[in-house]
Amino acid sequence: MRTPLENIERAEQYLNNEMTAPERQVFETELTTDATLRETLAQVKALRSAVIRKELRSKIESQAGGNNWGKGLGLGLFLLLLFGGIAWYFLSPTETAVVAEEEAPLSVTDSIEQAQWAEGKFELGGHKLWAKPDIQRFGFASSKGATIEGKDGILVIVPSNAFVDSSGKVVSGKVEFKLVEALGIEQMVLYRLQTMSNGSILESGGMFYIEAQVDGTPVKINPARPLYIEVPTVEKKPGMMAFTGKVDAEGKLNWENPRPLKKYLVKMPLGDLEFLPPGFANEVEGNMPFLTYKKATEAVTDSLYYALEFASIRGGERLDQVQCGIDPTSVETIKKPTYANTFIATEEFEQRIQVLHKAGNGEELLQHYVHNLGKDLSISDSVVARAVQADLKAQFQAFAKEKLTNIKDADIYQKRLSDFYQNKRKELKHYHQAMADKLAAMNATELRKAQAELNNVRMPKSNTGPLTRVVGPVQAISPMITSLVASMPSPSAATSPVYATPWYDMGWANIDAYFKLLEQGTIEVTIAIANKPDNTSVTQWLGDINTYTDLRNQDGKYVAFFPAKASTANEQTHTFAIAQTGEDYSWSMTRFNPRTQKDVEMAMATASISDIQSDLKGVDMDFGRLRKNHWWKESQARQAVANQLIAKRVEEERVKKQAEIQAKYEAALLNKKEKYDAVVRKQQEIQNMIGALRAIAFPCLESVVTDDVAIEVEVQVVDAEIRDILPDEPVGALDFYTIVEDMPQFPGGDAALMKFITNNTRYPQTAMDNNISGVVYVSYIVGADGRIGNVRVVRGVNAELNAEAVRVVKLLPRCTPGRQRGQAVPVQFTIPVKFRLD
């Protein structure tokens, strides 16, 4: 096996043609068998390309900065496209003289728009912007409709025949659909999207702009077949409504006409939904192979679950009346095709059933849902919220608040929604698998590392305290990975929340709630701005509570109001100042905490639009942008779990290593004891012999005096030999005994000890309620001074009983210490503490 450096060296020589013909041949042969070498070769090749590309790129980029093709010719190009567009418009589509027009003809309005943009004047839907909007364009046939997913995750379902002309007649033809997403502070500032509705402040859950043209003519949305729009969010906030944006007389965008949101249920194939209790499949997998089954296929897992008898789930003598969760037979029933067109076949119901498994009366509650399939899901949710046990109540109250209706309501969107979410689910599943594989690989790597580290570590010779005993076998890797994967969120789109609503208007839209916190009193902060051009717009953004408002100039300063009631959002407060002159901007942005800072100063400076964009990208915000990046939050959690896993592996390896050392020790100790016994026997023999001889030699002497000195020397010799056996091991670490000549004595003897334990043990109430019993084995050390120490559970039952047993053992009074060869020494004991229910 060669080192990485050697492999790199050879790959480099190979690529530089520095090898002799036979060397090349050897190298090429090795490549076919040695995957590491292949990888190294690919890496060296990549490095060579990267060095060259980096140089070329910097040359190219200096070229890009060095001339103004982008701006000067850009406008020319737009004009060219403009004429091309008009030509296309009036000529037959086959006579395309200009490239690029064939696929996406620009309409007249678009062309005007783009020509204006080229001059630094930006406008969208009659609303003036600071920067060019990021327009996403989609083309489809109006008779077919479309499923549109924006870059930042807004989903637009366009049913067939969703567009009408100004007279209300359905138009058919080629649709060009434009979508602009504004889910972040960057867009809110650059598109001037303040959250004001007729003077009231709103709290935004995301904004967007839509517009459509059919064969080049602007169209409206057919009120009989509205669009259905979902806006992703991190967390659903109450009171959200859908507002439409209208430009008022001052040229400001005002949010009007709030309408309640309405989320439709999405039908999924029943086979895709996971109705088994959380963790069940993993448990089955962990116990494979089982009988003749090697793998936990879905069929095996399902049949094992369905075979469980409901009444005896908990086992035991007195438990046959106690029910918990759901009867497996019921789960089998609702998986039948009869339920495929009901709300049972939705991810939302999947979420509910996962919770019902934990409910004492889960079966009864499931039956309630099943018997009310015709009603809205939210009606059953609120009934269940009242009937469920206390700890699950909040969960079902939250479900009821989602106000989910019935599956039949979404008819015109159902097929598209269903396809979309089925694809999402598949994607997530693949992601899960990839993640699990990656974790397994990581685990293996970390394990190797830990192993290497452990091999290098030599145990310190002394003062390390008693060695830890291994409790139970070291956990195998695969079940741990399985449980780790199980701890990831389920691959359900229902778990990534969205604000959803049918949508009737073209133009600007905003998902908003009225912002009420200011009504409970305000505090104010004064903001002074230096180098401020006359036409400056000053705006204020409150982080988590996503409000974005104008600040007004009062005697040369700006005053911002914040809710008096503390809220985390106040830590995330930003003020922005922006002004535009032609294509140049003046800009400043500051972040402050209004609770600690009452006066804020900022100074504006010339900035390019990309400077402003990069400033805004630096603002932390926990809002929107979710559906496409479902994993950004979870990946952090997963990383944390992975780190824990690694730590656990390392710890397990450490414990295992210690156990090996301990076993070696015990063997050595046994050996030592045998030798010691042999010495003692020899000593005894000598004593007996001397005694017998003396009695004859000195008949007048009554007692026998033994020759201690000689024997002591021999014992020391043996001890020295034993030390030689274990040169590397921590002799001093083993500072307690398990068997000594005089064992420690509990005051009153063993019977008194057991009585003390029995009298002082209190049965924990919850354990009693849950009918948990068993024996906890507790080990402790009686020190050389007779005190009790190092109390530990060797084999436990559950956390409560373990804790109680440890507590009682710690109460034990001082004992008479154990003695070995006349010297008081620490001795370890293990005693059973029994918990029994009668």
């Binding site: 890496q43 490095l47 140089e55 980029e61």
Partner: protein, 183 residues
């Protein structure tokens, strides 16, 4: 400047003039990319990548140009933009009329190798200046190790070589870390 002249210059290690000439095609490519769903920034990034690929291709002594170099550049741009759209699952089509149709295989583009190269490019900012200079001299300027050893003050050619291998090992290790994080 004729195509043959451009190719000759690139092959002799002087790409600057070639870059300047080919960059004049950017506005047209930019227009095409905007028309098929991109914006200017994306167009610029794509164009730069395409230009790099063309340079790499031209540097390969076995490469034979069968059409005009600009036509070839347009073809590469079209392919790269198409690849990018495919990654974004965009519904836009890239039907640029009169553009050379190239595939990943034609250009020898391998997605895995591409992402490895991208990781390496990032890594190059994180290794020491001395390492970077050495790699740049050797690979880009094609200087001999003897010349590099003299210019950079190594005591011998061998110690320069050893240092180069160590630099490479460091870069490769950093890149693997990046790949592990992104995988």
């Amino acid at each position: 400047m004729k195509d043959e002249e451009i190719i000759r210059q690139v092959r002799s290690g002087k790409p600057d003039a070639a870059i300047k000439v080919l960059y004049r095609e950017f506005p047209k490519v930019c227009g095409l990319i905007i028309a098929s769903g991109g914006d200017e920034a994306e167009a610029r990034a794509t164009f730069h990548d395409a230009l790099i690929l063309v340079m790499e291709k031209v540097q390969d002594p076995t490469f034979v140009l069968t059409c005009k170099l600009t036509t070839y550049l347009f073809g590469v741009n079209r392919l790269l933009w198409k690849n990018k759209l495919r990654k974004l699952n965009s519904i836009h089509e890239v039907e640029w009329s009169d553009t050379l149709i190239l595939t990943n295989d034609d250009l020898g583009i391998d997605e895995n190798q591409e992402s490895l190269i991208a990781a390496m490019e990032l890594v190059l900012m994180r290794i020491s200046d001395r390492c970077r200079e050495m790699l740049q001299r050797f690979y880009f300027k094609s200087e001999s190790m003897a010349a590099i050893a003299t210019a950079m003050g190594f005591t011998s050619v061998n110690s320069a070589k050893t240092q180069k291998y160590k630099c490479m090992e460091h870069a490769i290790r950093l890149a693997s870390d990046i790949n592990l994080q992104n995988a």
